[in-house]
């Protein structure tokens, strides 16, 4: 399980890097979003496997059988923050498109802006 997630993380990170190396802003931004998902998966992978454990609700099962809730709390927070950042970046992309009619880095540079 852990190895599988680790492989997934590496694939996601690799694709994100590939996207970010492009010369087109939309792709670069998508790469950054994907990188965030890779990070979340990495946190999940570094916490222990939930197989055979129960939900972390106090008063129910034996304490030693509970899943460690903290990594999931971290991921949840990271997702929420990621949302805000994605919304911001997408807005910026739309604004750039409206002003310059292009999202190619080279053409933007040529326009002097």
């Amino acid at each position: 399980m852990t190895i599988l997630i680790a492989l997934m993380v590496s694939v996601v990170f690799a694709s994100a890097t590939f996207l970010m190396l492009g010369r087109e802003l939309k792709g670069v931004c998508m790469g950054v979003f994907l990188l965030g998902h890779g990070a979340n998966l990495a946190i999940l992978a570094s916490s222990t496997s939930p197989i055979g454990r129960v939900a972390p609700v106090l008063g129910g099962a034996d304490l030693s059988q509970l899943v460690d809730p903290l990594p999931q709390a971290l991921i949840l927070t990271a997702i929420v923050i990621g949302f805000a950042v994605q919304a911001f970046l997408l807005t910026l992309l739309v604004l750039t498109w409206r002003r310059s009619q292009t999202l190619e880095v080279d053409e933007l540079a040529q326009q002097g802006g």
Binding site: T77, A78, A84
Partner: protein, 556 residues
């Protein structure tokens, strides 16, 4: 005085450092059609903030001698490693005071010099949210909240940078945003991996693990990756390339705010993480200390060479930030590696290095911000900030010239002014730790700093009158508010030079907290933790320990 007493009685009051700027941000957002009301509210909240931070510093500094003097608040009363912890020690408190002063100066400057429509009319809320992020990252007690506060701070800075700006700014904004986003993503990955390795993210708990020598070697690469994250934020070599391109495109007032706060937050966090938390682990120190020291030397020297070659005031100042960061991380690098069995002499060298770094950070916050604000007024007077196109500002605005000269000489480090004492302590510390090559770099950098500052002075102020508005006395921008703001910051800067001993004493107590973290650990985790027998490393079974510890401290 009264607040200081109250704060000692009820340490939960330190959450006000988060609540006050948040209230100011939300309040001014609703008032965004009423500019005067926004200004009054903002000013009021910033003054409250200043009062609170001075009270906090008095409390922790006076308390440091008697009872550890660290104010801790556990959110929701969850005991330390499980809940969210907010901590104010002397290190955080001195940063809070300096932040409050810098913010007040920049605020006065912005209100009097920027037009109302700046940042789409949302300048005020963004300003307060930026302050919120900065203050939160000073007082947070765990790594994940540090990430969250960084995000708040950066989000406010992105918005200030982008909303209602021109095209070249927008293009630079992409560079700034994307790089910081990648940095943040690496940070959150590191936090997750560290939790997997150590089973905790609480700073005091990690410090406890490091002091007892239980950090598994497999965690060292993750910690080294943290250097990458904070290196991007602080702009150290070789991760600095984004800074000179971005800072000179924004309005000078904003440049002052960013230069005064953002990179310094990075330097502060590096003290927390690499001196206080991981600086006590031999493996980490072996790997990171050489990297940090070499990077410090290259950062300061290449930065100042860049500044000497530039010909526009804001570009010179922007690239100078990098050079100054070199001094800060020089102190951090020298201060790493305080181990339990060390002799008192070695220990005091470590404390001296970190003292120098802290003093240098607070000196730089004020002085750098001041210089950026000066460059803004120069721009208004001369219509340009290219040194080839301007001149004669001395006769035009003698006050501005005088204030600039004091700030510039202070940055270069001429003896009665503050920069000298910071550099003196740092150079002495590196001399005592036998890093003679570092001493050479530091002194050479200092000389070149003087050269580049005198370049601005002689081309901009002293030469024959030149520039769009300088020759025609009919056009006279209103700069009184700006001058007042700069004068306030210069007074603080001068007090740091003439009263250096006082500031140095506070910095020294702050450095002690980081180099000898016993007080910090017991203040956050309780007295008993350090007396427990050393446990074997528990890299892989942390959920078991987590559950066991949760069961022990079950609040229900």
């Amino acid at each position: 005085m009264v607040i200081a007493e109250l704060m000692y009685m009820n340490p939960h009051l330190i959450t006000l450092f988060i609540v006050v700027p948040m209230a100011a941000g939300i309040g001014t957002m609703f008032l965004h059609r009423l500019k005067p009301a926004q200004r009054v509210t903002g000013m009021l909240f910033l003054l409250v903030n200043l009062g609170l931070s001075i009270a906090a510093l008095m409390t922790v500094y006076r308390g440091a001698a008697e009872h550890g003097g660290i104010l801790v608040s556990q959110m929701g009363n969850w005991p330390a490693p499980f809940g969210i912890t907010v901590v104010v020690d002397v290190l955080a408190a001195i940063m809070l005071v300096m932040t409050a002063i810098v913010c007040l100066g920049v605020f006065i400057f912005c209100v009097s010099q920027l037009n109302d429509q700046f940042a789409g009319g949302y300048f005020h809320p963004l300003f307060h949210f930026l302050v919120l992020g900065v203050q939160w990252s000073f007082i947070t007690g765990d790594l994940f909240n540090l990430f969250v506060s960084f995000e708040i701070m950066l989000m406010a800075s992105y918005a200030m940078f982008c909303v209602g700006t021109t095209r070249p700014q927008m293009r630079q904004a992409y560079k700034y945003i994307l790089l910081n986003l990648i940095g943040s993503t690496i940070f959150v990955t590191c936090a997750g991996l560290l939790y997997g390795q150590l089973g905790t993210l609480n700073m005091a708990d990690i410090t406890r693990i490091a002091v007892s020598g239980q950090i598994p070697q497999s965690a060292v690469p993750v910690i080294a990756m943290l250097l990458l994250v904070f290196g991007i934020k602080t702009a150290i070599f070789p991760l600095w390339y984004w800074l000179p391109d971005t800072y000179h495109t924004m309005p000078a007032a904003l440049g002052g705010l960013f230069a005064g706060l953002l990179t310094k937050v990075g330097a502060y966090v590096m003290i927390r993480v690499f001196v206080m938390m991981f600086g006590h682990d031999q493996h980490v120190v072996d790997v990171l200390q050489p990297i940090i020291l070499v990077s410090a030397a290259v950062t300061m020297f290449l930065g100042v060479l860049g500044a000497v070659s530039m010909h526009s005031v804001r570009r010179i100042l922007a690239i100078h930030i990098i050079s100054q960061v070199g001094y800060m991380i020089m102190g951090i690098g020298l201060g790493m590696g305080a181990m339990a069995g060390m002799s008192d002499a070695d220990m005091s060298i470590k404390v001296m290095a970190v003292t120098g770094a802290i003093f240098f950070i607070i000196h730089n916050m004020v002085v750098k911000c001041c210089l950026f604000l000066c460059s803004g007024l120069m721009l208004q007077h001369a219509g340009s900030d290219d040194l080839d196109e301007i001149g004669g500002l001395l006769r035009r605005t003698p006050w501005l010239a005088a204030l600039f000269l004091i700030a510039a000489l202070s940055l270069a480090g001429l003896p009665p002014l503050s920069g000298f004492f910071g550099k003196w302590v740092l150079i002495k510390a590196s001399f005592d730790s036998h890093y003679y090559w570092l001493v050479g770099f530091a002194i050479a950098t200092s000389l070149l700093t003087l050269l580049s500052m005198l370049k601005i002075w002689s081309y901009g102020f002293w030469s024959s009158p030149q520039g769009e508005h300088v020759a025609s006395p009919s056009v006279r921008p209103r700069t009184t508010g700006g001058i007042v703001a700069i004068a306030m910051l210069v007074v603080v800067a001068v007090s740091m030079g003439l009263g250096a001993q006082g500031y140095m004493n506070v910095s020294k107590v702050a450095a002690e907290t980081a180099v000898r973290p016993r007080g910090y650990i017991t203040a956050v985790l309780g007295e008993h933790v350090l007396d427990e027998p050393a446990k074997p490393p528990q890299a892989k079974q942390h959920p078991a320990t987590f559950d066991a510890r949760l069961a022990e401290s079950n609040p229900y």
